[in-house]
Symmetry: C2
Subunit: 176 residues, 2 copies
């Protein structure tokens, strides 16, 4: 569990793992393929990393940071943030799946990584924690269904995003 002093070899392994997920998809990341990518056999990997879960957690960390930057670049404009979120996910489907569809290894993430990624969204909906959570979940749901190919053929996904942003741009009513 020691994060170690960035042993060089360890970084190589994580870089190779990220590239495997990006180019071949999440299922292509096996200990044997990862070993081959860095020029060793699978058992040798365990001298540099604890287990496969640690590799996955490291990729989650990287992906959260990358996505956080993409969102921050669109800060303030809800529609632009929606587009940025969707664009990042479609550009990095493997990493998105890793980050959004697996249990977060929260104890392995650096402090604040999660909050940093969410901050621009919270600001954009006026600081309402619950509204921002609902919007975040909705964005996740739209992307998730798209990546899982769950929309009926011919569905107008752009229009669904517009409908979402429209719903959340209206002033927060409490008509309960």
């Amino acid at each position: 569990v020691t994060t170690a002093v960035a042993s060089g070899r360890r970084q190589e392994i994580l870089d190779a793992a990220e590239q495997l997920v990006e180019t071949e998809g999440i299922d292509a990341l096996t200990m044997r393929s990862l070993g081959a990518a860095v020029g060793m056999r699978a058992p040798s990997l365990y001298k540099h990393i604890h287990d496969k879960d640690e590799v996955l957690a490291a990729l989650q960390q990287r992906a959260l940071e990358s996505m956080g930057h993409a969102l921050a670049g669109a800060a303030g404009d809800l529609r632009a943030m929606g587009r940025a979120y969707r664009a990042w996910a479609l550009a990095h489907p493997g990493l998105y799946e890793l980050t959004a569809r697996r249990p977060l290894a929260r104890h392995r993430l650096s402090e604040g990584t999660e909050a940093d990624a969410a901050a621009p969204l919270v600001a954009a909906v006026g600081g309402d924690e619950h509204r921002s959570r609902a919007l975040w979940a909705a964005a996740h749901g739209l992307v998730d269904l798209e990546l899982a190919d769950r929309y009926p053929p011919g569905a107008d996904i752009d229009a669904a995003w517009d409908a979402l942003v429209d719903a959340f741009e209206a002033p927060p009513t409490r008509n309960r």
Copy 2:
């Protein structure tokens, strides 16, 4: 690909598969465990079903129907439908994951299964296809994040659902 005449043994296998997913989770459904549950070895299963994907597709079909009924029972009231959706998912986490987090084997589903499940939702948002799609995705996202344990500890998930319903109960504005 012939659906066959409900050979009895085939139903037994699907029933056992459903129970395995419900009680032990999705990873506990292996061809070997499934064989054991119906009293045969894994290879013998292939005399009754084509492959594991066919079993999963059959469970998706059953789950979609069950969830559709749950939603129909709350038809008309958006807040009640949200509660029904969430309640169904939390009561059947294994089946929910199967149905909502895996690519739909659409070609294996009975005609109309998907549309039937979605119909009450479309009606509840006044027939707007895009709004209903956004709301459906949002509900999925909220449940998905909850099941994946992705909310920060202590998050008020009820309040997030309320925020979602509030946003979609406001009249559809087009302030673009």
